[in-house]
């Protein structure tokens, strides 16, 4: 027999084998109903995993605002120092273990999520809130707080289980339009009611004279400004006097209003401190009175001698240090 007579047969067999292996590798074989059902279940679980983090994140944001309002109420009712560790209190509120403070928790919503996942998706979803961080820093700025919630998850469907430890879900919560915890935390409530409650509001653009563009977010007329070296929101909540460059706030008081109390007729800039350990140990509000500065001091600060209100005043960085937190000479007790 002529061996050359099988060459083409062998070549075509080789080519056919390559074609069959190549095409059938990518073939999606028709599935039976059981495979389809498994794919559907896996799809549902994957979609749940995609959405659950965003779900919990939004819960943190909403719950954060509710709980902060409740803590401000608590500070008002119970005085300074009652929230000396706001981070721990916030964690107790979130996981429903607070026995001393009446505050909402996130657990009822997460329990509802558990029920949903079990009833609708046949997924067992277990969680445990393990830790919480409550901070302000250069990322948040003065007008926000950062809530970092840490959770352990166990997610189990019939085919697979996920065990996620210490999952960190972070949300930035705005403090705009919240009440100033320091302001409401005044033991002499009659004095407080004489002042309008100063909502912490956002910045508005104010036109200053040229050269005065070094300040961030300056507002006026019973509003707050971000001021390096002011007392930030968390410190106000906790009743501590800690100055913050990134997140300090000072409040601005219209002279017409301050005139109702003591020697506060010309003050245009106010800083409220909750615990007045630095000065007299009493729970007083202090206002910076520009008129108590010497003319050269005012001049160096750029305060207009004719019109020492905020709109004509320069607020240099370090004003509070200059005035001296420990130097009550420039401060008025109202």
């Amino acid at each position: 027999m002529n061996k050359k007579g099988v060459v083409f047969t062998i070549i075509s067999l080789v080519i056919s084998t390559i074609l069959l292996v190549g095409f059938f590798s990518f073939l999606d074989l028709p599935v039976d109903s059981q495979t389809d059902s498994v794919l559907q279940k896996v799809g549902n679980t994957n979609t749940f995993l995609d959405q659950v983090e965003n779900y919990i994140g939004d819960l943190i944001e909403v719950q954060g605002i509710i709980v902060l309002n409740e803590l401000i109420d608590h500070a008002r009712d119970n005085g300074q120092g009652s929230l000396s560790d706001a981070e721990s209190v916030l964690l107790q509120c979130f996981n429903g273990t607070s026995s001393t403070i009446s505050c909402s928790n996130i657990t009822s919503e997460l329990d509802e999520l558990q029920e949903y996942s079990k009833n609708k998706l046949n997924i067992d979803f277990e969680y445990d809130i393990t830790d919480l961080e409550f901070t302000q820093n250069s990322d948040t700025g003065a007008w926000n707080v950062m809530v970092n919630l840490y959770l352990d998850f166990d997610i189990d469907d019939d085919y697979a289980s996920w065990n996620i430890e210490n999952k960190n879900i972070t949300r930035i919560v705005s403090i705009r339009n919240l009440r100033d915890p320091a302001y409401v935390n005044k033991s002499d409530q009659s004095a407080v009611t004489s002042y309008p409650e100063m909502n912490i509001t956002g910045p508005r653009t104010v036109n200053f004279a040229s050269g005065q563009n070094q300040f961030e977010n300056i507002t006026r007329n019973n509003q707050y400004i971000h001021y390096p070296g002011g007392v930030n929101f968390i410190s106000r909540l906790q009743g501590t006097v800690e100055l913050s460059d990134c997140c300090g706030l000072v409040s601005v008081v219209r002279p017409a209003i301050t005139g109702e109390h003591g020697d506060c007729t010309t003050t245009s800039l106010a800083s409220f401190y909750m615990r007045d350990e630095a000065y007299s140990g009493s729970d007083d509000m202090y206002l910076v009175n520009f008129s108590k500065l010497t003319s050269s001091q005012r001049s160096s600060l750029g305060v207009d001698e004719d019109n020492p209100g905020l709109q004509n005043a320069t607020l240099p960085e370090g004003l509070l240090e200059y005035v001296g937190l420990n130097n009550s000479a420039h401060l008025d007790s109202c």
Partner: protein
């Protein structure tokens, strides 16, 4: 002469057998791929639709798919599409939710497939296959929620997308 004839015969037979093998292989491969993708295509469409409503936010929808939704004053630009549908259904009108979903499905689901979009068991939009017969139904459930304002959280809601073929 005999030897040459025999050689030619073997050559011819070899070539014909080789050709037959190749043709048979090509027929097998083509016939498999020519078969309608009865279950593959609906599943892909379902995955794509779910991906669209869970990944696309209203900001990018207004910017890039204005024929689906074009409200330049959209208030909830950070909502994902499924959140917006749920919000329209729960807070505004069923008609606005239906119209929105109809536009979405025009984009994501071909005409020869049917689709049902539900929120919490209520059918928002429904379209059949047009053939009068539906043999296959694939569905996906989506965990849905939305925030009405800073202190109002609505959820969990179940969004369900079904593809019919």
């Amino acid at each position: 002469m005999m030897k040459t004839n025999k050689g030619s015969l073997f050559f011819t037979v070899d070539t014909m057998i080789g050709a037959l093998i190749l043709v048979f292989t090509i027929i097998v491969v083509v016939s498999v791929y020519a078969e309608p993708f009865e279950t593959r295509e609906p599943r892909t469409i379902l995955d794509n639709t779910v991906s669209f409503v869970t990944q696309q936010d209203m900001e990018s929808l207004v910017n890039s798919h204005s024929f689906v939704y074009s409200n330049p004053r959209e208030e909830f630009r950070n909502f994902r599409v499924h959140q917006k549908v749920a919000y329209l259904h729960e807070e505004e009108s069923a008609a606005s939710a239906t119209s929105f979903v109809e536009n979405i499905t025009r984009l994501t689901v071909p005409d020869h497939l049917g689709v049902i979009y539900e929120v919490n068991g209520t059918i928002i939009f429904e379209r059949d296959t047009g053939s009068g017969v539906e043999n296959t139904q694939l569905s996906r459930s989506i965990l849905t929620h939305y925030r009405n304002d800073s202190e109002t959280f609505v959820g969990p809601l179940e969004t369900r997308v079904m593809i019919l073929s």
